[in-house]
C-alpha cells in the first residue's frame, strides 16, 4: 500500500484526481448495491393503501409585498414566521391570521428564517450574508430592529438557518459552500462544515433523539450528513440530477427526503446508506422547492415550481393527492409541530395553511 501511495504523489494532476474519484465512486456504489436486496415499495406491499385525501386551504396569510421565500412554525403550533423578497419578516398567529410582529431587514431577498425553540426570538438572513436574531417583544410598539443581534457571517448569501435544541446555537448554510454552527450570545463560530463543491441551499437538524447530526443539500447535487461535534461529513449521496433545494429528516431520524430542481423527491435510508425511493411522475417537470413529512412519516408533501403541492405515499412511492391554490411557485413548506396542518409559502406573496 505504502509503495503505491508514494508512486502516485508526483502525478497529482486534475486528471489523476478525477480518475481516482470516479473509481472510488464506482466502488462506493458497488458496496451500496450489494445490500440493495429489495425495494422499499416491495416491502410496503402488504401495507394498507391510504384513503382519499381532502385537504384544503384553511387560512390564507396576506401581507407580504413580494415573494414569500421561507417560513417556520413556532413550537406553540400556532405562530409562524415568514420572510420575503421585500425584506420583511412577519410573525403571524396562524389561527386568527393576525400579524403579531413585523421587521424590515436592511436587505431584500430574506431567504431564511427560523423560530427559536422558546418562541421568544426569530432568526433570519439572506443577501446580507448574515444571520441575525431578533428577540420578540410583548410590547407591540417596541422597535424590534433596535434589539437585533448579528450572529453569523458568511462570505455569500444565507440560504437556510435553524436553531439547534436551544435558543443558544444556530446552524446556517450559505451560498459560499459551507455550513456553520454559531453561538448566539457571542456570535462566535463553533464549528464549520466544508465538503460541498458549490452553494449549499438547505439544511435540516436530526430529531433530537437521534444525536448530533444534520443533513445539507446543495447546487453540487449532493446531500451530506454531518457530525456536528467534529465537523466531519459522515455520509454523502449524489443521485439527484440537479440542485437540491430542500432536505428534511424522516421523523424517526433513520432517513431523510430531498427535493430538487430535477423534479423529483427522493428518500435516502441512512443505515442502508443509499437512496431507497424516488417520488416522480412523467407529468411533473418542474422543480421541487421544499419537502416535509407528516407526523408519522407516511406522507411526504412537496412544494413545486408549477404552483402545486404533491402529496406522496412515502412507503408505496405513489402520489396520493395534488393540491392547487397558489398562483405562483411554492417556495417553502412545513408541517406544524403537532402534525395537524401544514403551511406553504409562495411567490404569489401569500402563505396558506392546509388541513
Amino acid at each position: 500500500m505504502a509503495a503505491q501511495e508514494v508512486a502516485s504523489q508526483p502525478s497529482d494532476t486534475l486528471t489523476t484526481l478525477k480518475t481516482e474519484s470516479e473509481t472510488l465512486k464506482t466502488k462506493l456504489e458497488e458496496e451500496r448495491a450489494k445490500l440493495h436486496d429489495v425495494e422499499l415499495h416491495q416491502v410496503a406491499e402488504k401495507i394498507e393503501a391510504l384513503g382519499q385525501f381532502v385537504m384544503k386551504t384553511r387560512r390564507t396569510l396576506k401581507g407580504h409585498g413580494n415573494k414569500v421565500l421561507c417560513m417556520d412554525w413556532c413550537k406553540d403550533k400556532r405562530r409562524i414566521v415568514s420572510s420575503s423578497q421585500d425584506g420583511k419578516v412577519i410573525v403571524w398567529d396562524a389561527f386568527t391570521t393576525n400579524k403579531e410582529h413585523a421587521v424590515t431587514m436592511p436587505c431584500t431577498w430574506v431567504m431564511a428564517c427560523a423560530y427559536a425553540p422558546s418562541g421568544c426570538a426569530v432568526a433570519c438572513g439572506g443577501l446580507d450574508n448574515k444571520c441575525s436574531v431578533y428577540p420578540l417583544s410583548l410590547d407591540k410598539n417596541e422597535n424590534l430592529a433596535a434589539k437585533k443581534k448579528s450572529v453569523a457571517m458568511h462570505t455569500n448569501y444565507l440560504s437556510a438557518c435553524c436553531f439547534t435544541n436551544s435558543d443558544m446555537q444556530i446552524l446556517t448554510s450559505s451560498g459560499d459552500g459551507t455550513c456553520a454552527l454559531w453561538d448566539v450570545e457571542s456570535g462566535q463560530m463553533l464549528q464549520s462544515f466544508h465538503g460541498h463543491a458549490a452553494d449549499v441551499l438547505c439544511l435540516d437538524l436530526a430529531p433530537s433523539e437521534t444525536g448530533n447530526t444534520f443533513v445539507s443539500g446543495g447546487c453540487d447535487k449532493k446531500a451530506c450528513v454531518w457530525d456536528m461535534r467534529t465537523g466531519q461529513c459522515i455520509q454523502s449521496f449524489e443521485t439527484h440530477e440537479s440542485d437540491i433545494n430542500s432536505v428534511r429528516y424522516y421523523p424517526s431520524g433513520d432517513a431523510f427526503a430531498s427535493g430538487s430542481d430535477d423534479a423529483t423527491c427522493r428518500l435516502y435510508d441512512l443505515r442502508a446508506d443509499r437512496e431507497v425511493a424516488i417520488y416522480s411522475k412523467e407529468s411533473i417537470i418542474f422543480g421541487t422547492s421544499s419537502v416535509d413529512f407528516s407526523l408519522s412519516g407516511r406522507l411526504l408533501f412537496g412544494g413545486y415550481n408549477d404552483y402545486t403541492i404533491n402529496v406522496w405515499d412515502v412507503l408505496k412511492g405513489t402520489r396520493v393527492s395534488i393540491l392547487f391554490g397558489h398562483e405562483n411557485r411554492v417556495s417553502t413548506l412545513r408541517v406544524s409541530p403537532d402534525g395537524t396542518a401544514f403551511c406553504s409559502g409562495s411567490w404569489d406573496h401569500t402563505l396558506r395553511i392546509w388541513a
Partner: protein, 69 residues
Amino acid sequence: MARDMSDKDILKMELEQLQKEVKNTREPVSKTAKEICEWVEAQSAEDPLIKGVPEDKNPFREKGGCIIT
C-alpha cells in the same frame, strides 16, 4: 469556502471524503426498509393528517366560534 477553492482542491476534498465513505458500515435494505415500515405503521394511527381530526377539535378547520388556548 467552496467558491474560493481551486478545482484541484475541490477534487482532493471529494476524494478524501469518498475514501472515508467507502469504509462506512451499512445494513441491507430488506432490514432497514422493514423497520421504516414498522415505525410508520406504529405512528400512523396518531398522524392527524392521515386519520383526520374532527371539525370541532382542529383549530385550523372553519373559523368562527371560541378558541380556548
